[in-house]
Point group: C2
Chain length 290, copies 2
């Protein structure tokens, strides 16, 4: 069985439960969006997948092999991390050669092409880069490492709007060529909504949503109209949020609507987007102060 | 004369000109947006204002006093930097006490209140914080330091949408209470457009736009219609960008329109926003590969 299986994985730091049992699967050749509030556990999950830390319990299988300290399994996974783990005094080109040594392969042509597009000089030292250019360098290195599973933690951290577009384009180009599995963890949900085929939402260490983007959006509705009529029509539905504008009220409903129920003339059903859905699914409890 | 005067300030690193002569003024009690692409020179300008680095030429006056190594002038300025300059092993509360020592004053009540809102535990060590929570801690420390000039470099770096809203709210609350000068450097232009009274756009080390947000938006137009009609109507205007959708073309124009010219029925004039204006004003040349 190919893909990554995450089976009943938990992670504690001391008494703090960062991840509750998580079960999910990353299928080959698919782009995943990993969404969650600050401190929800996204980076912890990615670090577990990349074997940088170990689960407290449960197991992770990569193409049917246990990933812990398994060089063959780990050679298939690359994590572009939020953290800067590179020595400041080395040049970017030296760091890329180091990555080649570790993974046994590296697409220098692609790296040079992308460095040109982003106007990044590879002779510079890592320590001299601004936050934005650190993200750019780390993304280029990730895309040029020809592994099967690519994990990108905040690939657009500190990037301007034009550069963010370039990043999304580079991810998409790579995906169309190599069809590998890509996991993108990000807070800029609207911008990547079109890239993601599958959405994973983590909240307080729990996987609260796991589904195809298309199915999820088909189940997300905004019911708009006078408060009384909206309340009556949505009675018993899974209401996750509410907004008011003057005398008009909007209820966000996640889940199927009742086909038998008659929609009053004053009420309309509108599509909502992933960002709104995310906000309401993760809003109530706030962050965990990690 | 109160406020900060930036007079013919340049900054070179070796042969690289990061800032060309910059002239501008930061008036008391105003919120400024400092916008620019990655590598444009925003962080360099902020570091100069905070005296962390020195200009190659030119001078910076704070309330009429030269800022270089002038303790009185510098005690009025606080820079929340993108860089993490704190020792990883100290607790957040210890770091706040250190800031109090440096500035002689610190609003612990506000810091505790904001830490509660963001669910940030101040007994933690700085090194244990995620990227998002580092931003949150740095912003809280900045807001609680009662200086007159507050410089915020990417205050929402790595923050989720709900936390970004909390940050904007905290900046606004502080502003309404203390009416100090705030400079916000950010890439999420749409989100802060309503906060900024005055916009500064830096491109390749040049100050290319410096004006009141209201005036700037009044001068930014999108002219939409069939390509031929739009081209004819806008002939001679300051066209900064163009978009096409099927047979409809939109020209972005920055500057006054000609009142004498008759608008064809097929063409309409629409408002544009700051993000679009920024993209087109800074798009052509790309980043400088800093």
């Amino acid at each position: 069985m190919t893909g990554i299986q995450i089976k009943q994985v938990t992670k504690n730091y001391g008494k703090k439960k960062i991840l509750k049992p998580i079960d999910c699967e990353l299928q080959p050749g698919k782009i995943y969006g990993l969404l969650g509030r600050n401190g929800a556990g996204k980076s912890t999950l990615l670090s577990l997948l990349a074997n940088r830390i170990f689960p407290t319990s449960g197991e992770i299988l990569v193409d049917d092999q246990n990933a812990i300290d398994n060089a063959q399994a780990l050679g298939k996974i690359y994590l572009m991390s939020e953290k800067d783990l590179y020595p400041a005094s080395q040049s970017l080109e030296q760091l890329m050669r180091g990555t080649e040594l570790l993974y046994g392969k590296f697409n220098f042509q692609l790296a040079y092409d992308l460095a040109g597009e982003f106007e990044l000089n590879l002779q510079q030292k890592f320590g001299k880069l601004s936050t934005g250019y650190r993200s750019i360098f780390k993304l280029i290195t990730a895309l040029a490492t020809p592994v099967q599973y690519l994990l990108l933690d905040e690939p657009t951290l500190g990037l301007d709007a034009n550069h963010r577009d370039l990043v999304y384009q580079a991810i998409m180009d790579d995906y169309l060529k190599h069809h590998r599995t890509v996991v993108i963890a990000t807070h800029l949900i609207d911008e990547v909504a079109n890239l993601m085929e599958h959405v994973l939402i983590i909240d307080h260490g729990d996987l609260v949503l796991n589904g195809e983007t298309e199915d999820i959006l088909a189940n997300a509705h905004l019911i708009v109209g006078p408060a009384k009529d909206v309340a009556k029509y949505t009675d018993g539905f899974n209401i996750i949020g509410q907004e008011t504008l003057g005398r008009i009220t909007g209820y966000y409903v996640y889940g199927p609507l009742d086909d038998q129920r008659i929609l009053p003339d004053t009420v309309s059903i509108e599509q909502t987007n992933l960002q709104k859905l995310f906000v309401y699914l993760t809003n109530n409890q706030g962050g965990i102060g990690k």
